[in-house]
């Protein structure tokens, strides 16, 4: 299996955009070597602005650039953008609905060694709650590149979520990228698994494991958390006994609660959420942390079995 960084998809998308769109500007806050935007700087030095360790200023500067007609991509780690810069994302960008893109890397538990202070496990929840923001959580390198390109042609604030690690390349998600559209990876009638971001590979593995046990699994991948694809989720709720969601993020306020909200309002069925269970992470290798915090295919399978056996014992 091939592994590639989603943040590399971000900068490759930016470089491609810049070829044809002279409104594209890139800002960073002294983490250009980590977000990978240093590659953009090398290619387009006049369109790159390193703001130093000033996430708050960078986000409001981006607002100012967009007011003057540019399309700025403000780049930093997810924790710094959404927690340190939460006010600026809300009041400078979301409220006036400005055309600012926030490229957040090093999101989620797999940020690894830097520990909990740097692992953004609540960023989706924060940004999702801001009106006007679109939230994109691509699953692999190619989808990250597609999402970056799609963000530029969407008029309004977009939050792009990328990780630090190299993640499996998943050809199944490489179809056309449309903001707001779920990717139905396979149809099935017993159980639905819905993933976002890099959890897509665990979702695919879990589906294989459940199929070996004789279950028919529907598999949805949601690279857009907001606006959420209500139709695809409701259809899945109608067709299957329940849904397991999987995200590299807190179960509070992320994909799981977004899906549960749709399901409970339109077609109530059990929804079990795999993700960070309201705890901070810690330092470690990405892979060992995913084991320790229950972000694995086997955790999805266990939740799936619960739905298939416990919630509807008579079915």
């Amino acid at each position: 299996m091939e592994f590639k960084k989603t943040r590399q998809g971000y900068v490759d998308g930016l470089k491609e955009l810049a070829k044809t769109n002279d409104k594209i500007l890139v800002l960073d806050a002294d983490v250009a070597k980590a977000t990978q935007t240093f590659e953009f700087e090398a290619a387009y030095p006049d369109r790159f602005f390193n703001c130093g360790v000033q996430e708050q200023n960078m986000l409001s500067v981006a607002a100012g650039l967009s007011l003057e007609g540019f399309t700025p991509f403000a780049s930093t780690f997810g924790v710094f953008a959404t927690c340190r810069g939460g006010d600026q994302m809300r009041n400078s960008i979301a409220y006036p609905k400005l055309n600012v893109k926030v490229g957040a890397t090093h999101c989620g538990l797999t940020t690894g060694g830097d520990g909990a202070s740097h692992q953004a496990n609540e960023d989706i929840a924060i940004v999702r709650s801001f009106p006007n923001f679109t939230v994109l959580v691509p699953g692999d390198y190619e989808e990250a590149k597609q999402a970056t390109i799609a963000a530029a042609s969407h008029d309004g604030p977009v939050y792009l979520r990328f990780g630090r690690d190299a993640y499996p390349v998943i050809p199944a998600v490489h179809g056309e990228f449309r903001i707001g559209q779920a990717k139905v990876l396979q149809m099935g009638n017993d159980l639905t698994i819905i993933t976002t971001g890099i959890m897509v590979s665990e979702g695919i593995k879990a589906a294989r494991m459940l199929e070996e046990q004789g279950h028919s699994i529907r598999l949805l991948h949601l690279p857009t958390i907001k606006p959420i694809d209500t139709a695809a989720i409701v259809e899945a709720a109608k067709a299957t006994k329940g849904i397991v969601t999987a995200e590299e993020h807190s179960v509070i306020g992320g994909l799981g609660e977004a899906v549960a909200g749709v399901v409970s309002e339109h077609w109530p069925k059990p929804v079990l959420r795999i993700g960070m269970q309201d705890v901070f992470g810690e330092s470690g290798q990405a892979q060992e942390l995913m084991d320790k915090y229950g972000l694995r295919a086997r955790n999805i399978v266990e939740a799936g079995q619960k739905i298939l056996t416990q919630f509807y014992p008579t079915i």
Binding site: L25, G52, Q54, L59, S60, V61, G64, L67, S92, Y95
Partner: protein, 272 residues
């Protein structure tokens, strides 16, 4: 030097604006009166003498921009924009009411003439930096004026913007700090001391001027000098919070309190 005629015109405008500020805040029974009154001369000098702008074409690309970073002083900017002709004066009676385009704090998408949404303190100077940088990228020559509160510059983000403006040589940025020494909870030097203020900005690479911010001529001559600067400019404008209404002057309690009808009537009389 200003001609007597110009001076009289501007002084009258300041009175009109102060009258409107009092009427708006009294009408809404909500809003920030003291800081609005105190910065009336600065705003009038900009909109009626210094800035290149056209109320009939709020989106005109070559206009100078004004960003109210101390966003709570909407009674001031709305009064000026209405008087200048950006929107009908009767809109002012809708201030802070449901459905109004005149929100408690500036909301750029809705209000003609408002250049940036501000409200939580510290945002406006950074936003103005982004706008001024955009003008530099396009090779355009307009000015970006910013009004900050003195309490506001206790925000860390202000000093981030101060570094940024210096790095990118934003000499098209001319900012004011409305130095009235009062903030919500009291005297600024008790709450969080700011003095000595000029050396702070100078050490961040800005050209600094200290002026009487209630003196129209002093404001105008200083801005004209600032327009020639090679650096971003900070004008430390000593003002009297509540200026023009003696019982509101230099009183922290009038930061965000609406006047009763009796107080309003007295206030109007003292203006003229």
């Amino acid at each position: 030097m200003l001609t007597t005629e110009t001076k009289r015109f501007l002084v009258d405008k300041v009175k009109t604006v102060r009258h409107q500020i009092l009427t708006m805040v009294h009408g809404a029974q909500s809003g920030h009166i003291g800081g609005s009154l105190g910065a009336a001369e600065i705003t009038v000098a900009l909109y009626y003498h210094l800035m290149k702008h056209d109320p009939k074409r709020p989106d005109w690309g070559e206009r100078d921009r004004f960003i109210l970073s101390k966003g709570h002083c909407t009674p001031l900017i709305y009064s000026v924009l209405a008087d200048a002709g950006y929107f009908p004066e009767e809109d002012l009676t809708t201030f802070r009411r449901p459905g109004s385009h005149l929100q408690g704090h500036p909301f750029q998408p809705k209000t003609p003439g408002i250049e940036a949404s501000t409200g939580t303190l510290g945002l406006g100077l950074s936003t103005a930096c982004g706008m001024a940088l955009a003008a530099k990228l396009r090779g355009e020559a307009q000015y970006y004026y910013v009004l900050c509160g003195d309490g506001e510059i206790q925000e860390g983000q202000i000093w981030e913007a101060a570094m940024f403006a210096n790095k990118y040589k934003l000499n098209n940025l001319i900012a004011f700090v409305d130095r009235n020494y009062l903030q919500t909870d009291g005297y600024s030097e008790d709450i969080m001391p700011l003095d000595p203020l000029a050396p702070k900005w100078e050490s961040f690479g800005w050209e600094v001027h200290k002026i009487d911010g209630n003196d129209l001529e002093h404001i105008i001559l200083t801005v004209q000098a600032a327009q020639q600067s090679e650096k971003p400019v900070m004008i430390i404008a000593k003002t009297l919070k509540g200026k023009g209404v003696p019982f509101m002057e230099n009183a922290a309690e009038w930061h965000g309190k609406p006047p009763s009808t009796a107080e309003y009537e007295t206030a109007i009389q003292t203006l003229y």
